[in-house]
Symmetry: C2
Subunit: 460 residues, 2 copies
């Protein structure tokens, strides 16, 4: 069933198609210069990919449709890296806010921060915050999440309508053009099917997302614990008491050391929770804070600092956002290998403790940091790419971590997605029949397998 | 593409299959008695359907799988009414609560109230409340919603994992057997695809749903307004102020009259909001109440009664739940024709006002009642089925209402689903391409079109 591409045949097909592609998007939007192509061959991760043969920069959905029609007819694969790459960054347009309906529609050029800047006078904000200033449409495709998900949900819970171009060039609106009722039971739930499909089912050319009233009062707390187990147990109890924390992030001792060094802080070097509270008045925020403080103290908290000024709060969250770079800075010349398991809350404390012990036992340099309110945590492993022995050691650690998460009824990926590297876990996680259903759906929507081929779906 | 069934051929195929079906589920679970079959030919609505030829009562998922394999091989349609009917009521088992993870898994026999009874000692509850005591798995298939959705979401937001039997008998778990992480980006989001698929894509044999901490404090308020427009505008403003009301329901003058009469109340006969507040302490609930009171008063509220005792509160919500029967009781021998549009909040006040005027202008007896916090409202029209002229008049009214909702960027159905009657609106609402995608998915999952054929999908 899977179409096999010969790279020579693809190269020839792409070269032959260049004049037609130039007709669709204009000469200057067909980019074959090596410098441009190389920009599309790497991201922040340790992965290296071949540069695409050509980068196309369509400026509207109709051009995306025509490109896909052509690629589908000629069996040219459309991929983010390698092959033919469609950059949607030039599909521009101002965000369209529908203030009373708490939704905003954005084109692919709009990033998370640009969206928030555009609506800042409305008193509303878009909460999903994966750290990086990603394109909102890209966040849809990758099902982004981040520190705020515990209170505001992930992308899946925040997308209400999508314009998507399918493999054959068909343009659809998942809920109907321009529609944004708060609920609907009309037809199949296609919006969620495209969220997190990682380019394998369609290209997202417009997203209508939920925006939320900006909290009128914020406060933050930092609290350190003698062990990661106590820190994680605190999180479990905060959830059980139904305290609507906006963020609750765990940084283990090694991560705190890295942040202290990278962001010039002097936090106590032990497992620490960063917590943020949102409320519509000061009392509400104060009540949440003191309720969480009580829980922390019952879990042997070493301290509880909730008196941060807005400036200090900003410093802390910037340090949290820079945790990845801080971890990398621990080792000269290292790039990051990052894990991303998510487990049911009841298993969180044990799985994190076992993971920390595993790192220590195998003498692997790694930091634990995560969105523990969702049961999701990352181990950031600064690695030297060329060291094959180390790479194998880290890969074994990562395998053990995933198996531990799966044994705990969790998932191999809470928010980073499957891509290439995690396809091998999907059969074990979802079961053979669900993997087959993925292929059935993929084949129905993309019979020529041109959309990001080889990604997400494990081999049959 | 659509398979056409000859009813004679189906009848013959079913008769020939009876011995095999008896082997699968046992003789006593193949029910051909007319009295049993007739129970499956009606629901609460005004629709009448032919009774099924046979009702099967499998007791486990494997039997459902074998039945579907047989039906798929022999092209026997599986439908809720008419044809062959698979009742999942005998697939029994106690709800399995995972308290720390805030999820509970239920078999098809478990109803909403049974689920809440089973977990009542945990301090948790399942919030989705469509009024009727429906099977939770059935609520998944129909994407049920109801009065609590404004705070707790609809079924779509409350299902975390599903066991589903596909048309060919394949059993899948949408997120992997037994898994319940709070978030995951592993593979396609199939859970949502089956929510609201109305039996056209698979049969749900187990659902793992979210359960929430039961609010420790509740209070209610009743507030009446001079016009539906003012009542609806109040709702819009409550949302804008981000007050987390648990329910906010509108009953118009005619509905209040009906409730007064049916439930022996003496509410002021004008458009009225029933509001419920949930909180973790008394102050929180009191703050919400007074904030809403201020908004009501700024919209010319005629009164605001928030002093209800728990008993009186129960009486009010019972009256709300019985609104449908109260409306029917206004007219002897009537059955209910119910509409179900949902519009963006910004359009709600206008659309409700226009709808009320439409009823009055055409002298149609109907009540307006709805989950206005979601922009969703129903018009309940007590009708005499045999009166064809009246039926046409009501159908025209319903068409106008749907078109009004679609023009306002809303949907023809907020929570009741498409079934047969609303297929005609789906193309206008979703667009031709999205309807075609529905067919693509349907054909991929059910190539022989045996799963509830003819429902949900408009003809191509």
């Amino acid at each position: 069933m899977r179409r096999v591409f010969s790279s020579q045949a693809i190269q020839t097909a792409i070269e032959k198609s260049l004049p037609d592609l130039q007709k669709i998007v204009g000469n200057s939007s067909v980019r074959t210069q090596e410098s441009v192509r190389r920009q599309f061959a790497r991201d922040e991760s340790h992965f290296i990919a071949p540069p695409p043969a050509v980068v196309l920069e369509p400026t509207n959905v109709e051009q995306v449709s025509e490109i896909l029609k052509l690629c589908n007819d000629r069996a040219i694969p459309v991929v983010p890296f390698g092959g033919i790459c469609i950059s949607t960054q030039q599909i521009i347009g101002d965000p369209v806010l529908r203030e009373q309906d708490f939704v905003c529609s954005v084109k692919p050029s709009t990033t998370r921060i640009a969206l928030n800047d555009a609506i800042k006078n409305s008193g509303l904000f878009f909460p999903v915050d994966p750290g990086a200033d990603a394109s909102v449409c890209g966040m849809v495709a990758t099902s982004a999440s981040g520190t705020n998900a515990i209170r505001y949900g992930t992308m899946k819970e925040n997308v209400v309508n999508l314009e998507v171009v399918l493999a054959d060039g068909t343009i659809i609106d998942t809920k109907g053009k321009g529609r944004c009722p708060r609920k609907s039971s009309a037809g199949f739930n296609f919006t969620e099917l495209f969220v997190g499909s990682e380019g394998t089912l369609g290209i997202i050319t417009e997203a209508t997302v939920k925006v939320h009233p900006r909290p009128q009062f914020l406060s933050a707390a930092v609290c350190s614990f003698p062990t990661v187990h106590e820190a994680a147990s605190t999180v479990v109890e905060v959830l059980q008491w139904n305290i609507p924390v906006a963020r609750i992030e765990l940084l283990d001792t090694v991560q705190i050391q890295a942040c202290n060094s990278y962001s010039s802080l002097n936090l106590r070097e032990s497992p620490t929770l960063f917590i943020e509270f949102h409320g519509s008045n000061e009392k509400e925020v104060a009540d949440q804070t003191s309720a969480v403080e009580d829980i922390c103290k019952s879990h042997e908290a070493l301290d509880f600092d909730s008196g941060a000024s807005p400036d200090k709060r900003a410093t802390l969250w910037k340090a949290r956002h820079n945790a990845y770079y801080a971890a990398l800075a621990m080792r000269t010349g290292a790039r990051g290998f990052t894990t991303d398991v998510c487990v049911p809350i009841s298993k969180l404390a044990d799985v994190i403790s076992e993971t920390r012990s595993d790192l220590d036992e195998h003498e692997i340099l790694g930091t634990v940091v995560g969105h523990v309110g969702d049961g999701n945590f990352h181990v950031i492993l600064p690695t030297i790419e060329e060291d094959k022995t180390e790479h194998r050691k880290i890969q074994s650690f990562s395998d053990r971590l995933v198996r531990r998460a799966l044994a705990a009824d969790g998932t191999c990926t809470g928010e980073h997605g499957i891509g290439l590297g995690k396809r091998k876990y999907l059969r074990e996680e979802l079961g053979e029949n669900t993997v087959r259903l993925m292929h059935t759906i993929k084949h129905a929507l993309d019979p020529n397998n041109i959309m990001n081929p080889g990604k997400v779906l494990p081999e049959l």
